[in-house]
Symmetry: C2
Amino acid sequence: MSDPRVAGAGVTKFGKHPERTGRDLFAEAGLEALDAAGVAPDDVDALYYGNFMGELAEHQGHQGPLMAEAIGVDAPATRFEAACASAGAAVRSAVRDLRNGEAEVVVVGGAERMTNIGTAAATDALAIAADDLYEVRAGMTFPGAYALMARSYFDQYGGSREDLAHIAVKNHEHALVNEHAQIQKEITVEDAIEAPTIASPLGLYDSCPITDGAAAAVLTTAEYAADHDIDAPVAITGTGQGGDNLALQDRPHLAQTPAADKAAEEAYGDAGIGPEDVDVAEVHDCFTIAEVLAIESLGLYERGEGIHAATNGETDRHGEMPVNLSGGLKAKGHPVGATGVAQLATVAWVLDGTHPRADAVPDGTVGVAHNAGGTVASTTVHVLEVKA
Amino acid sequence: MSDPRVAGAGVTKFGKHPERTGRDLFAEAGLEALDAAGVAPDDVDALYYGNFMGELAEHQGHQGPLMAEAIGVDAPATRFEAACASAGAAVRSAVRDLRNGEAEVVVVGGAERMTNIGTAAATDALAIAADDLYEVRAGMTFPGAYALMARSYFDQYGGSREDLAHIAVKNHEHALVNEHAQIQKEITVEDAIEAPTIASPLGLYDSCPITDGAAAAVLTTAEYAADHDIDAPVAITGTGQGGDNLALQDRPHLAQTPAADKAAEEAYGDAGIGPEDVDVAEVHDCFTIAEVLAIESLGLYERGEGIHAATNGETDRHGEMPVNLSGGLKAKGHPVGATGVAQLATVAWVLDGTHPRADAVPDGTVGVAHNAGGTVASTTVHVLEVKA
């Protein structure tokens, strides 16, 4: 069985949508994806959907069937939850089922509503991705957790707040060419360094915003695409998932993300490629330091070298290894359950040349999407390649 | 690839566990399942885990990696959520991945903590399985929803509170031979009819209790079992899943459950059997009326006939079509995320003869497990068969 294809994708504007429900957001993204693919809702075999905090933000669980109905799909619908990697987990299951003949057309997607409950409640809701008993009750929230990881990285490998600032500056600049991005504002290294501290050494511009939004993609088999005249040159050729202990205290070190190492190794092996083949990467930069850990786990940089990549201009859209062309979670925004599929959409659009700002993003034939949950206790990595 | 086998299962005592966390409960069930299977945690390829209301009951999402760590498993771990069918969705994904060579050993399971937040808050938390915008805000909770379905059934097909009482009496009697059951108390038809009304026509004994508990099973391939001297005669030969609109208002009728019809049709087709081959069934009787709808969707009874099955003594453990030998959700208890795998465990133990009260339950070679979410907006059906 050949590798599944990305037949079409849809992403809402990320940002504050105070008058829109999660289902309203997902309907927009899902219908846009179906339209882009030229696939009718009746032809969909399953919906695999990511959502993280619907119980807390919208008093709504059981969103699988709700979202299927929202896009007119009458098929089994399942919600996957792996914290911020929820949509990545949904994609992985869809890839496997398409490869193995369990389905011909699967909609993958996700949505999250966060701004309606306010920043404090959203921060508290995000904390359920950490270990409530051993971390959250002790006062830990995610800015604090990633601050610990950044401190550990600086201690072990070097680097500075200035290096992190270069990542923020780069991702803000990238978001200028992403019409879906929440934050479209150029910043300077000085802006980032001088911004208020959130959890030392991380400042305001080291952190992604609180975001409402949705993303969806129609995945199908190469055979189905060919039989139905669907132009879908981008294949998902590799899938990987790794896990780690939820609590930071249960890990041997804080400056590495072994769950992502494992996911990357599996995905590359599955695709039969290596990091040297990757042209573009979308990675999970919920905080700037997370981008560093991600590009090292993906093997795009050696341990201790990732911190210099943005500073050296290598990971910007004109550089040799462009990372987060979408603006990343940092500037595009991070509607948790949607993020993994929004990453997939960006990579697919860059590779197949349908990116709305194809003039402003590099070309490529191989891309990766790295989606991480919690303090990287869950990670999925997917490899996308242009095929004939 | 041959059908996956049930290598071992573990279930905690269902009931009130005020001093135990969800991870504590799952560790007991998971380690018991691994021990029963004779499989080491290091040999597990993935954990597929069901949980429904952890965000609300324990302020804990991202439970996949948490539960993997609790049983010593270092492997990808994903949470599935389809309301009360969460564990069933996890089983379905495991069955497919084992069949298709994506894994050799998968732990499936689930856990739920509910009693710690009290009955009112648990009822509110359960309501997130319904449509918050169009049902819950109008005051609907699940007893009310199933009361509507019961009224519709009585109107369309006949039946009475007395028929429902017979289901409660049967399941209470079955729970007497299930050491894990929450409620081990014999009741009479009069007790059930005279019990306080919860939502007319449903009374106290028509409703399952609020429950803490966990369940787990080790699933593997027939080849792995043979190579590792694992005695695992029970195969999962059929899997099906169906979906429906979340809100009752969006359905053409309330006295049928088409999501379960579709799941059953798919599962039977997958297994190459029909309802006439089924020896035992565990079905999702969150309310007594739900057992009626389930056995009709499974094709064990014609439409309008299921209501008489318990009254006629046909579905008790001495009858021709024993249903809910475990006591069902009604008397065994319903720790939501665990229920689908607890059903699987009961069917497997009955079929392979390892049921702790094998003397008190019938024999059989074919069983089905029917796990439903919300007002049957999500349903999974699995067929289990004894194989050589």
